[in-house]
Amino acid sequence: MKVIYGVARPDAGTILWEGKPEVVGSPAYARRLGIGMVFQHFSVFPALTVLENILLLSPKGTRRQELAARISELSQEYGLPVNPDATVGMLSVGERQRVEIVRCLLQEPKLLILDEPTSVLTPQAIQELFVMLTRLADAGHSILYISHKLHEIRQLCDTATILRHGKVVATVDPRQETDASLAHHMLGTLVPSLSKGTSAESGAQRLIVESLSRRAETVHGVDLENINLTVFGGEILGIAGITGNGQAELLEAVSGEWQSPSARNVCIDGTAAARLGVTRRRRLGLVYIPEERLGQGSVPGMSLVKNGLLTVQVGKFVRWGVIRMDAVRQFASKCIEEFDVRPATYAISAEALSGGNLQKFIVGRELLQAPGVVVAAQPTWGLDVGAAQSIRQILLKLRASGVAILVISEDLDELLELCDRIAVMANGRISEARAVGETSIAEIGRLMSGEHEPVPANAAGA
């Protein structure tokens, strides 16, 4: 894709655009040809407002007011609510992607490239996006849709090309295929299906969040309103919802990055912990797998050995105030081995690993500490099918051993597959957790768009 969009240059071969060979030398040239792209790793500018971000890609002489009007018009039409004056740095991952999609659509491209666009949308919004994409396709636009969600491909696409390790392995008509057969092409082997196993049913309330409220600290943050949830040992509780509905604030309150004035807001294994810092909560057996793998989950430039040391209770690896490097290396090796991190060397820096392998390492590092409560934010975001599946399998294994697991994810399929109970966050509130068998995608989708409370006319979006 990067070659098509002019960011990278091909080593060999040509691109035919409207029948003519073209050398796409720059993204600006690609845009002039009518190629628009929504990146998976966003290319938005955090310090600028939404409007300014879009203005940067608009033709010269575009007036701010006109553009703002077009943005609101477009975002309403497609159910992608964005506030043109919001500073992008204050927005969540999901909202940033929305900005990218809107930015792309405003250029009315002939070819629209979308890289994993649905991870941040409600099920209803995905359907609307598909309707919109179909409409664009009918109007003569070409759409290149990159996704690992096979059922989306089957529903939406006319032809599908399957890539594996940079090679085309098959071109198929997705409507004639099944998820399993597509996955087989993708991985070369059959996907190990998740075996959910039985839960330990220990029944103990290991993590309790009780009447937690919190004022937003940033301009575009979300106020948390009376959050209540309980995670039992041997259970995975999922929290669904579109990013930016209070998940970040809730995670900070649970992990200890933000401390509540009232200690009973968060209880870990019976200890009132809401006023404790991150380290003291870790000592109580809580581990946190953050959404941002590079930066929050690991230090990009440090080797895996050093990254391994970071969240481990330091006492284990320090003698006379000196770090015992041999013990740390052993720990890192064990983590790499048990969780199948590749390449299997602890000397490599965190940023050199692929997302999936880094996530396996981070998850491994946390799980080797024998936690009682695991909090995972978007644990499989951006991972390929194989890596995502192994992360899920690890979580399920943990569940079987009686650990309480809280998973916050935008991937509804994942939550339905993984969780015992699901709650939904919208506008800083959380719905009552329901057993997976007793709920439906449609109901969760309704809750995700905040329909259990009075909503202003166009804010629901989906």
């Binding site: 960011v7 990146f39 290319s43 310090a47 600028l48 300014e52 500073t87 204050m90 940033t218």
Partner: protein
């Protein structure tokens, strides 16, 4: 009437003392917004001051001197830009070296001009304004270059927040990789921004040596270049706050002059320190909102860009 006149004189002195800081900080602001931290402001100011004085004393033209001061500052910053942008040298170390280099070069250029004084032109005569008493006295007392500085402030603010190239510049300072992906020339933008900063520092130096105290003294900027750098940071990269900080510095400078002449027995060294300390203290307090600072900080400041 006498009191009013005294206040007007104080105001004139304040704005005039603040002018070099305004110039240097606005220049550094533009450079830093593009993601380049140039710690060589002090050196560029000194070279600007010495070149401007030398040219003005030789040619008799203050304007020509000022223009040459600007060019000298820009040339210094071009060296810096080449080293940090094209050769990807460390910006902090290179900036420090540039200052040390500037101190030496300026002393060399100015060595023949110590003790020379410039013929200062009469005050600017603006028709109409001259008739209004108080305002007239105030506006008349200002140096022409101060007017230019105030106009430049509005230009810079408009450029950064309203114009498309300014938007591009902020984008480059924020996420250079994304700016590159969109198709902007990151290095081109940064070269221009750094050179604008250099020219502004040169003019700031020229203001000191040609207009403010029309003599050349070695090391005459006395740390104003450093204050300019600090001002940009503590003002959270906001041009209006920079102007406020510069005025504060000017005000305290003038105030301590008067305290010195009042002979209160306070050591002069302590009084000379006051403007620097007061400026930093006040700016630290008003910019203590962490979220706001984070939002304004050019995310890629001092990080080299590899295309």
């Amino acid at each position: 009437m006498a009191e009013i006149n005294f206040i007007v004189i104080l105001l004139i002195a304040t704005v005039t003392a603040a002018t070099p800081l305004m110039l240097a900080s606005l220049g550094e602001l533009v450079a830093e917004r593009s993601g380049v931290l140039n710690l060589g402001v002090e050196g560029m100011m000194l070279v600007g001051a010495s070149v401007a004085f030398a040219v003005a004393a030789s040619s008799g033209s203050l304007l020509l001197g000022t223009v040459c001061g600007a060019l000298a500052g820009a040339l210094m910053s071009l060296v810096f830009a080449f080293l940090t942008l094209s050769c990807m040298a460390n910006q902090v170390a290179t900036g420090l070296a540039l200052t040390i280099f500037g101190i030496g070069v300026s002393a060399y250029i100015g060595s023949g001009f110590t003790g020379v004084s410039l013929e200062v032109s009469g005050p600017l005569v603006v028709p109409f304004i001259s008739d209004v008493t108080i305002l007239g006295t105030f506006l008349l007392g200002l140096e022409p270059l101060t007017y230019v500085t105030i106009v430049l402030f509005f230009c810079v603010r408009w450029f950064l927040y309203k114009s498309r190239p300014g938007l591009m510049l902020r984008a480059v300072g924020d996420v250079p990789d994304a700016a590159h992906a969109i198709g902007f020339s990151v290095l081109g933008v940064r070269y221009l921004a750094v050179m604008f900063g250099g020219a502004m520092a040169g003019v700031a130096g020229a203001f000191l040596s040609v207009y403010y105290t029309p003599v050349w003294v070695e090391n005459m900027t006395a740390g104003r270049g450093w204050i300019a750098v600090a001002l940009v940071v503590f003002a959270a990269w906001n041009p209006t706050r920079i102007m406020f900080g510069a005025l504060l510095f000017g005000g305290v400078t003038i105030l301590q002059f008067h305290i010195q002449s009042a002979n209160l027995g306070i050591p002069t060294q302590f009084l000379t320190m006051l403007p620097y300390a007061a400026t930093i203290a006040v700016l630290v307090i008003i910019s203590s909102d962490r979220a706001r600072i984070l939002l304004n900080t050019p995310a890629s400041l001092a990080v080299p860009f590899r295309p």
